[in-house]
């Protein structure tokens, strides 16, 4: 008997065992991987999509360590903030890939901000899963663009004096087609959103509040319980409610990059169109 999702992971390889993961006990990123594999498993079965079409790409950080060498899928563990650019390249080579991007709040909100904005603007077909623990975990707990004002971190030892990014709003304004926020304490909703994001053509941005028990100095169970009490379903929220809104914020249809570009390529295949210089 073993965990049903282990069939999608490389427990071992030609050069040795790869599990257990390097994630800390209770890490939210491990849960997000579990939810993602459940979503992918259901899509493979329900939509009859070949496993070879899935591609996982990540940047740098604890959330990005999910791809490293654990996945029994095609994957890339790339550079800090640059995963959206690498994913764009993979799609340009083969638009059939179903790309899932694992990233963190620092990876996508700070160094990768520009690439994130433009992937959304282009509405490229990929699902971006941002594991938000509101700090830089891998390097020891520094302040991140999503850290709340006033919080103490290793680089804000006297309190954070900056505003914090609302990444979902950034995705929406930049042009994404599907934007949602859940937490690791909402597994069923997260899985449904991830499935919807993968199925939907265009950029899907799903932020998942994800616990870092080590830097929060609380147990994973404590943080998961607080995720239930300090969040509120956006459509149920009343004015003045200070809890974090969760739910699906945006779900629209708009032209996707490859659909649009393919029309240009097709026009040459049928020799209809002339270069403006000719």
């Amino acid at each position: 008997m073993k965990h049903p999702m282990l069939k999608y992971m490389k427990e071992t390889g030609p050069c040795g065992d790869r599990l257990p993961t390097i994630l800390c006990p209770g890490c939210g990123a491990g849960q997000v991987l579990n939810y993602t594999l459940h979503a992918v498993d259901q899509i493979i079965k329900e939509d009859k999509i070949a496993k070879e079409r899935f591609l996982f790409i990540s940047g740098i950080g604890c959330s990005s360590r999910l791809t490293t060498h654990y996945l029994n899928f095609d994957s890339a563990w790339t550079l800090h903030g640059r995963a959206p650019a690498v994913a764009t390249g993979a799609l340009l080579a083969n638009p059939e890939f179903k790309i899932i991007l694992f990233t963190g709040d620092g990876d996508v909100g700070a160094i990768g901000g520009n690439h994130f904005i433009h992937v959304c603007r282009r509405n490229l077909d990929m699902t971006i899963l941002c594991m938000n623990n509101a700090l830089y975990g891998m390097t020891g707990g520094q302040v991140a663009p999503t850290t709340p004002r006033g919080d103490y971190t290793t680089t804000t030892p006297y309190g954070n004096v900056e505003n914090s990014f609302v990444l979902c709003k950034l995705a929406e304004v930049a042009g994404a087609s599907y934007v949602a926020r859940w937490t690791t304490a909402h597994p069923q909703q997260a899985i449904r959103s991830i499935k919807h994001g993968i199925r939907k053509k265009g950029t899907s941005f799903i932020e998942i509040l994800s616990q870092c028990p080590v830097h929060a100095k609380k147990s994973a169970v404590e943080i998961l319980r607080s995720y239930k009490t300090k969040t509120v379903k956006a459509k149920n929220a009343e004015k003045g409610d200070n809890r974090i809104p969760i739910g699906e914020f945006l779900d629209i249809e708009q032209p996707e990059w490859f659909e649009s570009f393919q029309k240009i390529i097709d026009s040459f295949a049928s020799e209809e169109r002339k270069d403006q210089n000719e």
Binding site: M1, K2, H3, P4, M5, L6, M9, L19, P20, T21, L23, C24, P25, G26, C27, G28, A29, G30, Q31, L33, N34, Y35, H38, T184, P187, Q188, P213, S219, A220, V221, L224, R225
Partner: protein, 68 residues
């Protein structure tokens, strides 16, 4: 009665599964294992409904439940 299976190689004793279990069929072990973790053990598997919330929420793919 449903069977619980914990992979001692992968479990890190985070206890998320125990907190998530709606029927409290499992509990933490009193003993620490060789890595210093408290693994989940059966409390009363007659209460287990194989809802698999524990399987869903495990960060380390270390738990499985089989219906019998």
């Amino acid at each position: 009665m449903n069977k619980l299976w914990i992979d001692e190689r992968y479990c890190k004793g985070c206890l998320i599964c125990i907190d998530a279990c709606p029927t409290k069929a499992i509990r933490p072990s009193e003993k620490l294992n060789s890595k210093g973790y408290r693994l989940p053990i059966e409390e009363n598997m007659a209460l287990c409904k194989a809802c698999e919330i524990c399987v869903l929420m495990c960060p380390d793919f270390a738990i499985a439940v089989s219906e019998e």
